[in-house]
Amino acid sequence: MTKRQYDVAVIGAGPGGYVAAIRCAQLGLKTVCVEKGETLGGVCLNVGCIPSKALLQSTEYYDLLANHSKEHGISAEKISYNFNTMQVRKEAVVQSLVTGVAGLLKKNLVDVVKGTARFLDPYKLEITQNGTVSAIEADHFIIATGSEPIQLPFLPFDEEMILSSTGALNLKKVPKRMLVIGAGVIGVELASVYKRLGAEVVIIEMLGRICPTMDPAISRGLLQILKAQGLDFQLSAKVASAEKKMKGITLQVVVNGQATELSGDVVLVSIGRKPSSSSLDLQRIGVKQDTKGFIEVDGLLRTTHRHIYAIGDVVDGAMLAHRASEEGVVAAEIIAGQHPHINYLAIPNVIYTSPEVASVGLTENEAKEGGLSVVVGICQFKGNARARCHGDTSGLVKVIGDQVSGRLVGMHILGANASEMIGEGVFALANKNTLEEIANASHAHPTLSEAIKEACLQALARPIHM
């Protein structure tokens, strides 16, 4: 049998796809990466993780200067911002990373083909780009087509007044009043951006709490802090219908049984994301998807066809860029005949509000429901020396351990730099470390990370600084 054109064809150049392609190439597989967007990098780089973090950083600096310079003895009159400049900077950051991804693929000798891919048969893709049609044959495929925002049926996105995260990141000007439907990660992050820039922001959430996947101690703490920052929360509120007016949107909302109306200049609908794979024509080759559209995969990330893999948001699981990347590496290694391993429990979760939230492992409830006899340790940043130096002492570290083995089963941080600190928890979980071992490790002084040591000591009933 003649060898096919490629060993592996990766569909999608987001954090799942481009990482998978690079790993395949490293392992000696002849690889092609197909991308239908104008630029590489997927949602993450272009309209997700990166642009939002760039805006969050710019607005955080503005907030710091505008609202906290005085207490540090800095006199800063007339602090103002130019939203357009922030957007231009954001674009530059995105551009630099997109170019970076292209460079990495080139360096690793991965062929890049632009166009929309569609399966003609289980070993052949048809690629369409601007009317031109071509074909690619490969022995293996990795589907990394990601996800897209879910829209409410009565609020179809127009990305001007009715926004998905994409539109919310690309607004031309700061709205006076912004409604946000959904108090998950995306909702609270984008709400923070515009609140800091002076918008009135109302967040409408169906459940009785925000960021429901977080440990309750964390989500309660975050809610208090965000409220104190001026964000208006309407919890246990369901949006029944909407009316698009000339100069804004009015939502009919039911809060605790009471019908009420909320209006704003724009509304961001951030109620979740759903998998994208419709253009692939998976039905044609019989690749199974579940009722929500996620591609079904087995314990080796293989779809119905043993040579077609699927990774990232298009597969059910935490919709995180780094999860997609891990799965991309694993799929590449499996194709190359290796025996990799992915520990989903050791994949961290971050919210980039200020203060940040980061967590890895089980929440307290999950640990209890899992049948573990649980021990908990909490250290508030109020007692942390570095936090005092910073001036922001909000937040806490919460560690959850298993009494029988002494092992860490969950770490949850609400506080500045949480995203950078969570690595300690990731490592401890992956390597089955105990609370004792974490507590015995030296943590530099003065740092925020000492709160991790202290929380573990607290769980072991021998805190030093509490």
Partner: protein, 408 residues
């Protein structure tokens, strides 16, 4: 609806088996016809397939000995979805274990234990450690505690003294290292059999050489019409089988075996043909060779090769030969001493056909020559018979008309 997983019948003489590689451990979701686990016997390996889709629960571990008909688990009917994270059933240990590799073919040139090759692309265990699997692993009592950390207590624990700081870093694997892996059951059995036959029999080998010009000439002349007429290629093997059949008819004591104190002679001629497959050496048996034509012999061999590749060989295909032909020539062997396949008393080794300078009618000629080796059990066969047997084969091959005319 629960479907019991039972140990199937694996051949007349087989009453028990050993559980080998577990492909889908307890807690896995399987689709119908998915491979669940492998069962090993001293003759054959067999894969157990799922008879319905659902959740697998196994009550056995690798190395467990099970009886034919024993229930070793069950499948509970379900959707048979792919194992996503939402699985409530805890998936078992997830570290991907490399599937045991069947013994390679090279060292088992002759007299090898009959093995059915394990199906290509046997899936490994899941590599995705889900939350449920992680919890299950955490809760499993540790045989040897990983570290000396005291379990966390509610009151002030007497903490173990802080260990002195570890300065050493785990050394990188040195360049001259070894790796150790356990021998599979099949390999252990083969090893034992090979040693046993050499100790139990008085085995020696006699050699001869054969000028293959006549056979090669016939093949070249008739290969196309043969293929056209019979739908199968004319190989060397049919000539060899025919020659051996003729020789076994002339020397019936070689078509015999020792059973206790009896010498049992077979009236029928079943010849095992050693075939190399990617997964190892197998020896399917061509039955009643004395009644088979050239075409039928070639067709049997081709059918076996196909079955072997697709993993469809049964124990019955591999049992009951009275004589074996093995061909080391395909790998390039010029000469070798094949090991007898017990309880047979002889084995013929074919080798590489090579052009050599030989003396024909007092002249040097270039002929396509092949060395033949006949290993035999001297307890049953004496030297004169063995040598004459081999000469008979040689004559039939050098002058195939003898086969037609049934002249020795």
């Amino acid at each position: 609806m629960k479907n019991e997983i039972k140990v199937p019948s694996m051949g007349e003489s087989i009453s028990e088996a050993t559980v080998g590689n577990i492909i889908k451990p307890s807690g896995s979701l399987v689709a119908m016809d998915d491979e669940i686990l492998e069962l090993e016997t001293d003759k054959v390996n067999q894969v157990l397939y799922a008879q319905q889709a659902g959740l697998v629960t196994l009550t056995v571990q690798p190395e467990d000995v099970v009886k034919i008909g024993q229930v070793i688990g069950f499948i509970e009917a379900g959707e048979g979805k792919g194992s996503g994270q939402k699985e409530k059933a805890a998936a078992k240990e997830i570290k991907a274990e490399p599937s045991p590799t069947p013994p390679s073919s090279t060292s088992l040139a002759a007299g090898a234990e009959s093995i059915v090759p394990i199906k290509e692309a046997a899936p490994q265990a899941s590599v995705r450690l889900t939350k449920e699997a992680w919890l299950e692993e955490l809760k499993r009592p540790q045989a040897v505690p990983k570290k000396e950390s005291s379990p966390v207590a509610q009151e002030r624990p007497s903490s173990p003294p802080l260990k002195p700081p570890r300065i050493d870093v785990a050394p990188l694997k040195p360049a001259r290292s070894e790796t150790r892996s356990k021998m599979s059951k099949i390999r252990r059995l083969i090893a034992a059999r090979l040693v046993e036959v050499q100790q139990a029999t008085a085995m020696l080998t006699t050699f001869n050489e054969v000028d293959m010009s006549a056979v090669i000439g016939l093949r070249d002349k008739y290969k196309e019409s043969f293929a056209k007429e019979h739908g199968v290629k004319l190989g060397f093997m049919s000539f060899f089988v025919k020659a051996c059949t003729s020789a076994l008819k002339a020397f019936p004591e070689i078509n015999s075996y020792i059973d206790g104190e009896d010498l049992v002679h077979r009236e029928y001629i079943d010849i095992g043909i050693a075939v190399g497959t990617p997964k190892g050496l197998i020896v399917p048996v061509v039955r009643s060779c004395n009644q088979q034509t050239f075409a039928q012999i070639e067709q049997s061999i081709e059918a076996y090769a196909k079955k072997a590749r697709e993993g469809g060989l049964s124990v019955d295909d591999l049992q009951g030969a009275g004589f074996t032909i093995t061909n080391g020539g395909v790998y390039g062997s010029l000469l070798s001493t094949p090991i007898i396949n017990p309880p047979q008393c002889a084995i013929l080794g074919m080798h590489k056909i090579m052009k050599r300078a030989v003396v024909v009618d007092d002249q040097i000629a270039i002929r396509q020559m092949m060395y033949l080796a006949l290993s035999y059990d001297h307890r049953i066969v004496d030297g004169k018979q063995a040598v004459s047997f081999l000469v008979h084969i040689k004559n039939c091959l050098e002058d195939p008309a003898r086969l037609l005319l049934e002249v020795s």
